[in-house]
């Protein structure tokens, strides 16, 4: 029941806050568009004036695509060179977004101006969430050790002449990596909720509380996480199906696919808000509401000051 309640709450609250979805989409496209311009420039220089471009629009001549993509100074390599910096910058910006999203979600709906609440939260929690990222090593390291141990065990058991077993082991490894990634990510989500709702500066304590919280309610927290994950999967399937039926041989088709992609990316923003709201609800429903209330009071005071 708790999971359904949290899921329902997450979906309702996220839907009620389109601004949140919009700002997340805006950040996403802002960063991605830097790579768009780099790619566009390099691609245009390589193929732009060529007659081959006509074929590329209609059929997608693989010879031209492959030679362009693999060229040492081609669009792909130029973009790839920049990509790590963009991802790093986005990652840092994302810490700001996390603060903004949580601040909007914990504030009573409609009380404060969205921009003030979002950007205020982003700024207020930035340092704490950054520290949380550093402290998260204490969670990542045991997860890594667990993976290495399981991997070593599978290696001992593995027999390269038993092909099905090897494939099964690969599946187990991938599943374990994904599970651990999601678990740690979920712990960090709850740690951030605790920091924000308590307005606490005890980041490490929040992290430890979050570990305890998740481990004590493993079924509930994981259930909520994967149910929302299923929602995301359904969205992705719809997106891919719609995209696959649109031809991209005309300007209209290209624009349509671009717009659908943006709707989907905005949808991912909505899903993110739903995750946070659902998890916030899970946290609130649990017996830790006392601290949460204290945190809320802090936020209210802060919001009143803003």
């Amino acid at each position: 029941m708790t999971i359904t309640t949290c899921l329902k709450k997450g979906v309702t609250e996220a839907t009620a806050r389109p601004n949140l979805m919009g700002v997340l989409w805006l950040f996403n496209i802002l960063f991605a568009s830097i790579l768009y311009f780099i790619f566009f420039g390099a691609f245009d220089a390589a193929v732009g004036p060529s007659l081959a471009l006509k074929d590329l629009l209609k059929t997608g001549d693989m010879n031209i695509i492959l030679e362009t993509l693999t060229k040492p100074a081609g669009p792909f390599t130029a973009s790839l060179r920049m990509a790590p910096y963009i991802i790093l910058l986005y990652f840092l910006a994302n810490i700001f977004l996390q603060g903004g999203v949580l601040n909007v979600l914990i504030a009573p709906r409609g009380r404060d101006k969205f921009a003030a609440c979002f950007f205020g939260g982003g700024g207020r929690f930035y340092g704490r969430f950054l520290r949380l990222l550093i402290y998260s090593a204490v969670v990542w390291v045991p997860a890594g050790i667990l993976f290495v141990a399981v991997n070593a065990f599978l290696r001992v058991l593995g027999d390269s002449s038993r092909e099905r077993q090897m494939v099964l082991f690969v599946i187990i490894r991938v599943a374990l990596v994904l599970f651990l990634l999601h678990l740690v990510k979920m712990v960090l989500d709850y740690a951030r909720i605790m920091i924000a709702t308590r307005d606490s500066r005890s980041v490490f304590r929040a992290l430890m509380d979050a570990v305890r919280f998740v481990l004590r309610r493993l079924g509930g927290t994981l259930g909520l996480y994967y149910l929302l994950g299923l929602t995301g999967l359904a969205m992705a399937l719809v997106y891919l199906s719609v995209k696959s039926i649109i031809g991209t041989t005309t300007a209209a088709g290209i624009l349509a696919v671009f717009l659908i992609t943006q709707v989907y990316i905005a949808g991912r923003g909505w899903l993110r808000a739903a995750y946070q709201t659902g998890q916030l609800e899970m946290f609130t429903i649990s017996g830790l509401t006392r601290e949460a209330k204290q945190g809320n009071n802090g936020v209210k005071e802060e919001a009143a000051a803003v």
Binding site: Y36, G48, S50
Partner: protein
């Protein structure tokens, strides 16, 4: 031991004399008895070799390949060059391989073992024992035959490069002492290198293989006898003439099946034998289909498959180091249980390795010294077969949204082939393993496709058929292929082959400038003759003219190879002009002053030169298609957006 007289009887009944009329000049006649000891991964063998001195030179010593000594330690030439890995598979240091010659003697003559020395003719490596030599007590004169008896023991390595074992699967290749090739009076017997394959003379092979009863066996040639032994083993005798090597495989988990392949034109009747490992039975239909297609394609396009059998071996799981390898009338393919149907690796490997039955097996070029003659010609044949059988846009990868043909795949490798090595070079002299394979396989294959476009498909088909017919069961060199191409086509192709075979450079022509500018009306002072007085006057305006455009096309040679070029220039009124250029200078400018603008120009408009490493710069237009660039840039941005939202969700 007791079976020897029976075996010899069988063999003598079905084999001609050493130089009698087979399809090939039968220089060697091997009669080998080998027993597999699965527990110790060793082979115990006895070999009788009749060797014909087919040259005009007296011979006083005989060199032999002992290939498996390449896996004896980490200091052999193979191991030093390869770093102990081959095609991604690593040596198992707990399971080295070797071949030991216990004795070698002349039949009814003296023991030559004391004269046995190891030689390293290519690099002088004292730790390499892949070539041995014995000295004869008396020379073998031209036309004479030497008969030798050799006892040997072979320890198979854990398979990572062609030969060896994994579990109870054994791929037994290059496993017996094999005599070198006496060519133009000089022995050709190279060491085993990381980037080289093999070379040997044609002849007859009769091999008796003894394995535990439960083991399924496949081998070069046809099985002529099978018997069960009291010790729980069985012995199988295989015979094949007109081949230059003998390989075999065994594994209790092989599932053997046989199908007949027949064809009327040309006449082919052969038995396809499939040895598919139990783990891969779900992939069997892919092998069967591809082998049938390969047999049909090669027989139709090059010449009838001449042997009575062809055996496809599917290596056991974990034994892929043995996969993708050719031997006469037998080859190893390779797959995994879960490889999707849209990824046509099993088909490509099957067609490629079967194809080596032609380019290496039947046309026996020297793989050590001129590997392109088998790998390059076979890559060309493979591309043609794969693209025609499975579709040129999807032969290799065929998934929704991602399709790649074999030509595109090989061309990509050609583009990346560097500028270090030419196509013709001794295999171990390439700067790296990747340079060897990119040049010898892909670049040589694309080179022949280019030649096909230069000569025309029909003429090229004649060239290939003539080359096959002329050189089957012989040892052609590069110049023999070139001569065949020139004689068949009636064209001097020196300009082509001299560059593409012997120079490491690249082909790249481009339209580097395209302009169409309105010719300005004359302004300023011009000297004009007065029509009445004939005196020169300075006037301030030229005669009135219709609007005209100065259209300029600049074609440049960006690579080093010089190919004659055709340039197609298209104008706004739809008219086209075709220009020719010998392609020698670094650039050539074409100017047209016309009342219309030009719209585009294209060098090599018929796309003949597939070796060109940059197709995109072959053309230029004044009316570009910006939405194509947007399409790909927006597509790329979409991927980035997904990535960003994934890493932060």
């Amino acid at each position: 031991m007791r079976k020897i007289p029976i075996l010899l009887g069988v063999v003598l009944a079905c084999m001609p004399g050493i130089t009698s009329a087979g399809l090939s000049r039968q220089v060697v006649n091997y009669d080998i008895h080998v027993r597999l000891l699965p527990e110790t991964k060793t082979l115990e063998g006895r070999e009788t070799l009749l060797w014909l001195n087919d040259s005009n030179t007296e011979v006083t010593e005989l060199p032999f390949h002992l290939y498996l000594n390449a896996f004896k330690n980490n200091r052999t030439t193979f191991m030093k060059e390869s770093g102990g890995s081959s095609r991604g598979f690593k040596v198992d240091e707990a399971n080295w391989g070797r071949i030991t010659v216990r004795s070698i003697r002349l039949q009814n003559g003296p023991d030559l073992t004391p004269t046995l020395v190891y030689a390293a003719p290519d690099d002088g490596n004292p730790d390499d024992q892949t070539v041995m030599r014995v000295t004869l007590p008396a020379p073998v004169k031209p036309g004479e035959t030497a008969a030798l008896e050799i006892a040997f023991e072979t320890k198979l390595p854990k398979v990572f490069a062609r030969s060896g074992f994994v579990g109870n699967f054994f791929m037994v290749g290059q496993w017996f002492p094999k005599i070198g090739v006496l060519r133009d009076g000089v022995w050709n017997c190279h060491q085993y290198h990381a980037q080289s394959e093999f070379f040997a003379d044609y002849g007859l092979f009769t091999v008796e293989i003894t394995v535990p009863e439960a083991y399924v066996v496949g081998a070069t040639g046809r099985r002529v006898k099978e018997s069960r032994n009291a010790d729980g083993t069985k012995s199988l005798v295989y015979f094949q003439e007109d081949v230059h090597d003998f390989a075999w495989t065994t594994c209790p988990d092989f599932v053997e099946s046989r199908e007949r392949f027949t064809m009327d034109e040309p006449k082919v009747d052969t038995e396809m034998i499939f040895l598919v490992h139990r783990a891969h039975l779900g992939q069997r239909d892919r092998y069967v289909r591809a082998l049938k297609q390969g047999l049909g394609f090669y027989s139709k396009n090059y010449g009838a498959y001449p042997y009575g059998t062809i055996t496809l071996v599917d290596p056991a799981p974990g034994g892929m180091g043995a996969g993708g390898m050719e031997y006469p009338t037998l080859f190893t393919a390779g797959t995994t249980s879960f490889i999707p149907r849209g990824l046509r690796v099993p088909e490509m490997v099957t067609i490629h390795e079967f194809g080596h039955g032609y380019w290496y097996g039947i046309v026996g070029s020297n793989e050590f010294e001129e590997a392109w003659l088998d790998e390059g010609i076979n890559t060309y044949s493979e591309i043609k077969a794969m693209d025609s059988l499975y579709g040129s846009d999807r032969a290799m990868i065929d998934f929704p949204g991602l399709k790649i043909g074999d030509f595109s795949y090989q061309r990509l490798a050609t583009i990346g082939s560097g500028r270090f090595d030419p196509i013709v070079r001794k295999s171990w002299d390439y700067i790296s393993g990747s340079s060897y394979s990119l040049n010898v396989y892909s670049k040589a294959g694309i080179m022949l496709l280019t030649l096909e476009r230069v000569l025309g498909e029909e003429v090229m088909a004649k060239v290939m058929k003539t080359y096959f017919e002329t050189w089957k069961f012989r040892h052609p060199r590069t110049e023999d292929f070139v001569r065949t191409a020139e004689e068949t086509s009636g064209r001097d192709l020196g300009w082509f082959f001299d560059q593409v075979l012997h120079s490491p450079d690249k082909l790249d022509y481009a339209i580097t400038d395209l302009r169409s500018e309105e010719v300005q009306e004359p302004k300023g002072l011009f000297d004009r003759k007065d029509s009445r007085t004939g005196a020169a006057n300075a006037v301030d305006k030229g005669t009135a003219q219709k609007p005209a455009f100065q259209n300029t096309v600049v074609v440049a040679r960006l690579g080093e190879w010089i190919f004659p070029q055709e340039i197609k220039v298209t104008f706004a009124d739809g008219k086209e002009v075709r220009e020719t250029w010998d392609g020698r200078d670094r650039w050539k400018k074409f100017v047209y002053t016309l009342p219309v603008k030009l719209t585009s120009a294209q060098v090599d408009p018929d796309n003949r030169y597939l070796l060109d490493v940059n197709f995109a710069n072959n053309s230029r237009t004044l009316a570009p298609t910006p939405w194509a660039t947007r399409k790909y840039a927006l597509g790329f941005m979409g991927w980035v957006q997904h990535l960003l939202s994934f890493v932060t969700l």
